[in-house]
Subunit: 114 residues, 2 copies
């Protein structure tokens, strides 16, 4: 018997940020490109943009800077604020997983199949 | 900005118990009847039974005792083991919510709109 957990962030009762959005921003950071990030997580470029816009609007912070042109044909980079947010969110996800496991063990110890 | 969380219990990688099953067992406890419990949470009697059977099998504990006949036409009661399991699960859910809120505040304090 194992416990599983899921977390997400809401603003005004609306989901704004969770594991999927985390993967999107991390993929942008890795590839330096929204097109390649969208491809990696199997969504369209259009959808990636709409996710980014919604997050920026609801969180009230700029997350992705577009660079057009240049010898590499432009690209996208995360803002410092996006990096700080991602770091905190990763800390939160990992911390929560540990806390949930610990709490589960404390409460269910002695239960069959634990 | 608020954090939300969800937990559930798995056995062998398969979901076995979560908020919905908790409500089902609590409704059986309240009504003393699977029929009325199923009605309250808007599922069929047949589905309620299949949920109960699956939980009993996967958790390896008896959860619901049927009583047939008698002047009240029979009914269903939770076993002591089911009550103990429910108590622990409720403790876990509430404990996790508090821990997640606390962890969120610790990590995100200073973030805009917190």
């Amino acid at each position: 018997m194992q416990v599983r957990s899921k977390i997400w962030v809401e603003v005004g009762g609306e989901p704004v940020f969770g594991r999927g959005r985390r993967f999107l921003l991390e993929a942008i950071d890795k590839h330096g490109s929204i097109t390649r990030a969208a491809r990696e997580i199997n969504i369209s470029y259009r959808r990636a943009w709409s996710y980014i816009n919604a997050m920026e609007e609801r969180l009230g912070i700029g997350l992705v800077e577009r660079h057009t042109g240049g010898k590499n044909g432009g690209g996208a980079v995360l803002t410092d604020e996006a990096r700080r947010f991602l770091e905190k969110y990763a800390l939160l996800e990992e911390g929560v997983r540990e806390l949930v496991d610990e709490k589960f063990k404390n409460i269910f110890t002695g239960e069959r199949d634990v």
